[in-house]
Amino acid sequence: MEEVIKIRNLSKNYHTDAGEVNVLKGVDITIEKGEFVAIMGPSGSGKSTFMNILGCLDKVTSGNYFLGGKDTNALSRDDLAELRNHMIGFVFQGFNLIPRQNLIDNVALPLVYAGMKAHERKIRAKEILKSVGLEAFGTYLPNQISGGQQQRVAIARALVNRPKLILADEPTGNLDTKTSEEIMQLFCDLNVKEGITIVLVTHEPDIAAFAKRLVNFVDGKIQHDGPTALHVKENA
């Protein structure tokens, strides 16, 4: 199988007023193409920091992170921006849409930075909005639609540049149970039908259950790594 993420002996320290804080202490993990990984763990266990590093938004203190075979330590800030643009789609807890722009423009934004022409961007953005069921809302502003719809727009934005990897940081944290399930179903479809690798952070076991693989962080280390309960059952 093709390795999307390969992490070797990863450590991350933060400088604070209280001194050096060791947030990640030697993490090793490999995630292959088509996997659906849920990351869980108590607050302060380092799972958010781990996600930031996966998203190339933060630098490692020591160790190596290979994304799609590339050593991220060797890349410049702008190289990383380009890598994020092409490889990764982000879905955040707070949706993080740009409030002044309509849905089409929001979805098309990564394509702007990819250098795509305006009319091509628009066609592609409409196409992807349709795939998340929001083609009728293209010219709406983010505050004119519901939270669940906003998260769908955010997913559409994450998908628009055809990434290999989707990183979702508590994507259902601000949504009710029913909407959460719909969003998770969307992720499952993407994973199964499109073969997109998904890594998602959550602290709700119900949400984690949608994934195939569960990684548990405790105190900056991976404490457990294996198939989710559902898949254990299925495999049995």
């Binding site: 800030r77 921006a81 982000f90 002044r100 930075y113 540049n161």
Partner: protein
């Protein structure tokens, strides 16, 4: 840079209209001030230039007597004066194109039931050349009129209007001091002189006529001053020097004696006047630029606020693939747009204001193309200069800090 980025900057500006407008106001006032100030400056300058040019170009005036000190320094041997033959000798110099000896007095001019009190100048036909004074109708008097001391007169526009109204004065006869004079020509309008005197309120007669028939004089052939036109601007200094030497020689002045005449260089006077108005418009421009500077600081201030407010948005943009230059250009464009639109409004306000000033304060103005172009250049400069720091601050934000910003 693409249309989408321009549109995005426009949208960001529109997101907080009042704030954007207030920020622009600094630029509007600054540019408006620059336009108005330079229009007033250029207007004054043009007016001064006009009135200097109306005196005649490359003009030198030789005055009788030692008048530089302003005191009673008439020199030994009584009143040393200039003569008509001095003027003739000056005209012979290589550097001089014409010299007109001039004397003057005041008299009442009468035509039928109208009369007018004015200054009558006695001079030679060279006078019209020296003063670059065209005739509106008729002809100037000739050298033969000067030789024969004939009773002919050339009228200034003001007198022609006051004595004749709509009638054509040429060929008519007027009375000056109870003697008949034939009007041979009417001078074209010249307007006010530098000191505000009406230059058209004058009548010109042959110098011989003035001296023998009109005013009479103890010393025939003696004149108050000689107006001299140099060949060109470049020989003015040389002409002045040669003329001085010639006159000292003709007046038989000893080495140690002071000049018994004074030469005034009107071009030098003109240059001084021009420099004064230039200095004035420069000062006005400097004051106006300070308001532009203040406007620029306003833009920087609001851009810093905007960057802070939109930290999270910047974080999102970086996360989904914006490179540093994308962010830099985005904020730079916003600052530029504020300053350039402010400048546009400022130009309109400035031009409008300048015309209002012209209308209500009767000050001559000249809105110059260069002041508008300079305003745009400065506005662009201000936008880039004061927009750069906030834009760089935005571009240098750490992705993770920006994304986490609440």
């Amino acid at each position: 840079m693409s249309l989408a980025m321009l549109f995005e900057a426009w949208r960001a500006m529109g997101a907080n209209r009042l704030r954007t407008f207030l920020t622009m106001l600094g630029m509007v006032i600054g540019v408006g001030a620059v336009i108005v100030m330079s229009a007033v400056g250029a207007g004054t300058q043009a007016k001064v230039k006009d009135s200097i040019a109306s005196m005649g170009s490359n003009l030198l005036i030789v005055l009788a007597g030692s008048m530089t000190s302003g005191g009673v320094r008439l020199g030994s041997g009584g009143v040393q004066t200039l003569t008509v033959s001095d003027a003739t000798a000056i005209e012979e110099l290589d550097t001089i194109s014409a010299a007109a000896p001039t004397t003057s007095g005041s008299a009442q001019l009468i035509y039928q039931s109208s009369n007018w009190y004015t200054q009558v100048t006695g001079t030679t036909s060279s006078y019209f050349e020296v003063r670059d004074w065209e005739l509106e109708s008729g002809y100037p008097f000739m050298d033969s009129d000067v030789r024969g001391a004939t009773r002919v007169v050339v009228l200034g526009k003001t007198i022609a209007q006051n004595l004749f109204g709509d009638e054509d004065p040429v060929g008519k006869t007027i009375r000056i001091k109870n003697s008949p004079y034939l009007v041979v020509g009417v001078l074209a309008k010249k307007g006010q002189s530098l000191d505000g005197r009406d230059q058209d309120d004058t009548a010109i007669v042959p110098i011989t006529t003035a001296q023998t028939k009109l005013f009479g004089t103890q010393f025939k052939g003696v004149v108050r001053f000689i107006m001299v036109e140099a060949l060109s601007d470049s020989v003015m200094d040389k002409a002045e020097k040669e003329m001085g030497e010639l006159l000292r020689q003709r007046h038989k002045l000893r080495e140690s004696a002071e000049d018994d005449f004074t030469i005034r260089n009107l071009t030098a006077l003109a240059n001084t006047a021009e420099e004064t108005t230039k200095a004035m418009s420069l000062m006005l421009a400097a004051i106006a630029s300070i308001s532009l500077l203040v406007g620029g600081i306003g833009i920087m201030n609001i851009m810093l606020v905007s960057v802070t407010e939109r930290t999270r948005e910047i974080g999102i943009r970086i996360a989904i693939g914006a490179k540093q230059r994308h962010i830099l250009v985005q904020f730079l464009l916003e600052a530029l747009m504020i300053s350039i639109i402010g400048c546009l409004i400022g130009v309109c306000v400035g031009v409008g204001g300048a015309f209002l000033i012209q209308k209500f304060f009767a000050i001559s103005i000249a809105v110059t193309q260069s002041s508008i172009l300079i305003s745009f250049a400065v506005a662009t400069g201000v936008g880039v200069f004061f927009g750069f720091y906030p834009a760089r601050k935005a571009a240098n934000l750490e992705p993770i800090d920006a994304l986490r910003y609440q």
